[in-house]
């Protein structure tokens, strides 16, 4: 589903990624580990081009995202990201956070289809929907998703009234509302109080059980061990070690991996 070829990224003189090759298949749960400054977050942010790679290619559904002609926004809609600091829209209520992007996408599709219809070009009939219908369906979907994470009663609150764990759960269902093919998690529990980490990990485990393809950068070794289908250990901008959780955690081959794990486990 995602194929990364010889990815390089530098910020000025600082080389962060030095040639990453990676393939992620549908349904995989890939956990990326590594010391801070190793480039793991940068790798994740390169996947959806939040950072433009310096060199190399990223293929998503066999489309090269690094090509400047590709409309990155369309692909990001299927490759949603959950951030360390949640990045919920502060000027929108919880429900509006969930419905904003789906409504935007549906409205755009409807407009395109109407133009195509006018010029007698091919279009999909189901794309032509009224704004009221688009809104109603997005809100219904939003409430259903909020119900999934037990936050239905917070639908009309603003994000500033939520706790960290609640915010992150909203951020996860906000991404889910787009019905993405892949979800990227950038240290989703690092900014949370310890007691709130559990509730967020629980939601992520449920996603994993439902078969969502996930790429997770995290420091939660327990989560990696339990849920991951593959673990990558990154340091100095390259993939040092790669394998099943059992291989990486219990039988690390690379000395760098061994020393890292001995410190964190």
């Amino acid at each position: 589903m995602i194929r990364v070829c010889d990815l390089h990224k530098s910020f000025g003189d600082l080389k962060v990624l030095n040639g990453i090759d990676l393939t992620i298949e549908k349904g995989e749960i890939v956990v990326i580990l590594g010391p801070s400054g190793s480039g793991k977050s940068t790798l994740l942010r390169c996947l959806n081009c939040m950072e433009d790679p310096t060199a190399g290619h990223i293929y998503f559904h066999d489309v090269d995202l690094t090509d400047m002609k590709v409309d990155i926004n369309v692909h990001r809609q299927k490759m949603c990201m959950v951030f360390q600091h949640f990045n919920l829209f502060n000027n929108k209520t919880v429900l509006q956070n969930l419905t904003l992007a789906p409504i935007y996408v549906a409205k755009k599709a409807a407009r395109k289809a109407r133009v195509a219809k006018f010029f007698k070009r091919p279009y999909a009939e189901e794309d032509i929907r009224s704004l009221k219908d688009i809104k109603a369906r997005a809100e219904e979907k939003g409430m259903e998703l909020l119900g999934k994470v037990g936050l239905q009663d917070k639908a009309d609150e603003y994000p500033s009234k939520l706790s960290g764990g609640q915010k992150q759960r909203v951020a996860i269902v906000r991404a889910l509302a787009m019905e993405p093919d892949v979800m990227l998690f950038d240290e989703p529990t690092s900014a949370l109080d310890p007691e709130m980490v559990g509730e967020v990990l629980e939601v992520m485990k449920e996603l994993a059980r439902d078969g969502m393809t996930m790429v997770v950068v995290t420091h939660e070794m327990g989560f990696a061990h339990e849920v991951a289908s593959r673990v990558l250990f990154i340091d100095e901008g390259i993939i040092m070690e790669e394998g099943t959780p059992d291989e990486v955690f219990n039988h690390p081959k690379h000395p760098r991996t061994q020393s890292f794990l001995s410190k964190v486990l």
């Binding site: 990001r76 809609q77 502060n90 929108k92 603003y158």
Partner: protein, 236 residues
């Protein structure tokens, strides 16, 4: 102040009996029209310029736009508004052969001028919004402009509302220069009354009073608006 009663009488005669209030009402209308429309035009132009200036500059088009905006802001901040007004009315319009009423020209110039100032205010406001908000929008597949319009600018506006109110107050007071091109504003109306009666004390005093009352009302409205917009900010 010995003959203040007489001065008041003269003013009242001019104001009421000779229907000076018509002039004052017209002046008040023009002053408010120029300031309000100037502010609206200014906000539109200022927001556009600010958005261009914070745009990522990988491609050629944003870079060219950025250059154009810099020149625009430099010109309108670098010359006094009176000069801009005079240049527009007595140089540009005749050269282009366009006919416009003084009020229209004044409104345009006020809009263009405050656009330059508001662009800087708005840019500061946009930069004050957490960059994570932009990232959150972009990561959901919203375009740069859509994220700007729906997420960043609403939050920026909330932050800059007090400064924007200040700009509006400045605009209202600055309208007193539009008589340079022959528009009747509040200043002109009272000035005419003074000239008719050779008695300036009461007209100018009343004029000052009206300006103050207007500014006070506006400050109050801004305060009310701020309170409404702060709704989403209340934390636990």
């Amino acid at each position: 102040m010995g003959n203040f009663d007489r001065r008041l009488e003269v003013f009242w005669e001019e104001f009421w009996v000779y229907e000076g209030y018509n002039k004052v009402l017209e002046g008040l209308k023009n002053t408010l029209f120029i300031a309000v429309m100037g502010l609206v035009i200014g906000i539109v132009i200022g927001t556009l310029i600010a958005a261009v200036r914070v745009m990522p500059k990988y491609r050629l088009v944003p870079r060219v736009l950025d250059g154009v905006c810099s020149v625009y802001v430099a010109f309108f901040r670098g010359t006094p508004m009176v000069v801009q007004l005079l240049v527009f009315y007595y140089v540009l319009l005749p050269l282009m052969g366009v006919n416009m009423t003084p009020v229209t020209v004044s409104t345009l110039v006020f809009g263009l001028n405050s656009g330059a100032y508001i662009s800087e205010i708005m840019r500061g406001g946009i930069l004050s919004v957490d960059p994570g908000q932009m990232e959150g929008g972009r990561a959901m597949g919203l375009s740069f402009s859509a994220t700007m319009m729906k997420i960043v600018i609403p939050q920026a506006v909330k932050n800059i509302l007090p400064t924007l109110g200040n700009e509006f107050i400045t605009l209202i007071k600055e309208t007193s220069i539009v008589s340079f091109v022959g528009a009747t504003d509040l200043y002109k109306a009272f000035n005419v009354m003074g000239t008719n009666t050779y008695e300036f004390m009461v007209p100018y005093l009343s004029m000052a009073l009206i300006y103050i009352v207007m500014v006070l009302i506006i400050s109050l409205l801004i305060k009310l608006m701020e309170r409404r917009l702060r709704k989403s900010d209340k934390s636990l």
